[in-house]
Symmetry: D3
Subunit: 161 residues, 6 copies
Amino acid sequence: MKPSHILADGTIAMVDVTGKAATARSARARALVRMNDAAQRALRDASLRKGDAFAAAQIAGIMAAKQTSALIPLTHPLPLTGIDVHLEFLADGLLAIDAQAKTTAQTGVEMEAMVAASISALTIYDMAKSVDREIVIESVRLVAKSGGKSSFDATRESSDV
Amino acid sequence: MKPSHILADGTIAMVDVTGKAATARSARARALVRMNDAAQRALRDASLRKGDAFAAAQIAGIMAAKQTSALIPLTHPLPLTGIDVHLEFLADGLLAIDAQAKTTAQTGVEMEAMVAASISALTIYDMAKSVDREIVIESVRLVAKSGGKSSFDATRESSDV
Amino acid sequence: MKPSHILADGTIAMVDVTGKAATARSARARALVRMNDAAQRALRDASLRKGDAFAAAQIAGIMAAKQTSALIPLTHPLPLTGIDVHLEFLADGLLAIDAQAKTTAQTGVEMEAMVAASISALTIYDMAKSVDREIVIESVRLVAKSGGKSSFDATRESSDV
Amino acid sequence: MKPSHILADGTIAMVDVTGKAATARSARARALVRMNDAAQRALRDASLRKGDAFAAAQIAGIMAAKQTSALIPLTHPLPLTGIDVHLEFLADGLLAIDAQAKTTAQTGVEMEAMVAASISALTIYDMAKSVDREIVIESVRLVAKSGGKSSFDATRESSDV
Amino acid sequence: MKPSHILADGTIAMVDVTGKAATARSARARALVRMNDAAQRALRDASLRKGDAFAAAQIAGIMAAKQTSALIPLTHPLPLTGIDVHLEFLADGLLAIDAQAKTTAQTGVEMEAMVAASISALTIYDMAKSVDREIVIESVRLVAKSGGKSSFDATRESSDV
Amino acid sequence: MKPSHILADGTIAMVDVTGKAATARSARARALVRMNDAAQRALRDASLRKGDAFAAAQIAGIMAAKQTSALIPLTHPLPLTGIDVHLEFLADGLLAIDAQAKTTAQTGVEMEAMVAASISALTIYDMAKSVDREIVIESVRLVAKSGGKSSFDATRESSDV
């Protein structure tokens, strides 16, 4: 197993996917944001009543996913065919942000899902940081991917997302 | 304490800072990326020998910081006067990415530092994910801020980064 | 009165504002979107229940305002200090989108307000076009501006929005 | 008929087009800008003599069409295969801006045509607003589309564009 | 004299300008494009008759100057107060593109002028390359700068542009 | 031979490639940067020791290539499948920057390669300009292209890069 973007001499490169066939691919990522009661209440109230706080984070994640190749240096521009971001409190003070990206392309959409989850989490952070200055993005990780050489689904292997 | 971007009726808004004076501000954020030995070796080798892997992540973070207002919906465009990103393995398999943002403006640069750390971490993730598919961004958090109403420095209050 | 961006020989130019003092400025623009009952019901239901349709349009307008200098060739990059977008049905089938932009700068924010209203209206159009294929952006116009040489407020001169 | 981007619970989503076949599609949109004699003269003179005023608006529209997926939250990134913007005075004080977008993709290019027409109109507005402060974008609407489930051509059904 | 962006240990950094005062600054850059007769005729005809070829290159240069901080990793975002691009054939087959950038800021606008000249030249290249496949950007260089520690004006020292 | 973007009446247009088949294409461009000994030493030292100076220029070129359609008005958005940038001193004070772009698309990637080489050269310029104020981009030109109607390889016809 070699890092795909690092050559033998230590220089970096975009992977050349010119010869590969375009296939259907998807990826799911999850970010967890830990916050105090006041922040949760503020977000939940706003989102229950009007939806705007969660909608802002959802839209920021969707729009950022479309900018992935402009943000992460060695990623390929991909024609995203679907991107979905969903926010839900898993437990008191623990907000889960699930992002799913889809494409039919020569390479995968893991980074699109990871970027969507990250930027959506940062948008929540931005809206809640004046209420809870200890708010923290607790993790961002890939949950599942399909298409390409290696598929996996962490939710089947373990319940620890 | 109220969420600065959420109005009483649940709608969201950018904070109007028109009347505020511009003052010097800075913020530091840290992202932690957890990876296995093979990924660490690949990144460390590349970076020791040529610097390119860490340089790619550093540059991606710097460039993303400058796009903060295009990524996070309710942030103000700010004239960043400095942005610095530094990567270092804290322990086996634990990479710390420290981002510091500075400006002289009417509002703070927490989000610029958080975005720099996050996108830098995602760039590391992208380069190492083919070696370690369990790689995870373990946390992204604000470490310190100065300027504006409330300064704090988490590194003085606690050694728990 | 001469067009500020068109020189005597017919070539175009950005206005040089280097010598001007930065002063507080604001501008308000309004877009009107005309749609049928089904589209209005769909948007209103979604927005009453969850807020997401209006929130999407609001956020798209806010984010586009921050991209004004990247979209309109001869505009100056400005440090927006406030941008607000509000959506409301004025009458059956007539949605008003009001955008207000603020800055302290050497030139005005009319275009920022106009861009916010336009992109917000196009986002509504995008969400409603499958329900009402005759939906139309009926107008986009400046409603008021203050700061700079010439202030005006169309709402005081006329009730015709 | 349901709004394609609004789910039953009021949340919004990008339409998943992963399974759809890519087909040839085109769309035409028209914006109308109403201005006074002085503004028309300034624009017409500049454009007759040197072409630059109309060229600026044309190029701004073309470039914005390519940014559609970055501007309108729920649109898909599309490989535009053609985009054309044309400006012409229809009558005294009434400038028509016609934009045509083309692609071979899984979804249509209505929004690309609408964005091109809108940003082109805003560029004209920006160049003429110092001459005519009452200048207004009188309408932006879809004129025709082909490809996909529903084609239509408003110019055949009615002469009222 | 040390490279401002390269630290003693070989890592790179954005220069921290937080403490510096904002002063008026300007810079001029020139790109030269060498092309054959057919390409010159095509561009000159189009530009004489309608202006659009030169206008396209001019606008592309202006818009790119405003994106300098998004393109060149270690540059600061600057509030450009003026940017001007002018194209003129110096001799048969030799097109000069002069870009002048201005700001009041803590650091200079050399890169903004250089980016404007470069992207304007590339736009000419793009329009003429089907007529002259040997077309070449012959040079891009800074011609003059003022403000900041070091001013110079190459046109006074030498006639060799 | 006609300029592909200039119509008979002098107006400009994006070439409509809707009907064309997507084929494999590649292009290589080279920029040369001329600098003094001190600048060369600073860059070479930094790059030998840590790689960061060259890595910064490489990454800036790669990221800019992906923005080609946002920078050059009449270019099509293309799904780049590979982009590679390599820097090497050819002789004392003469740095060569070679960029190679690849895609499978309806039109070529010359501009992507040219943009990558140009922005990479400008990044070197930015890092070295404080050491050598006479530094100049000596040329940017296409070296080879394949795919599409006309292939050529300047390196086979001549050793004059």
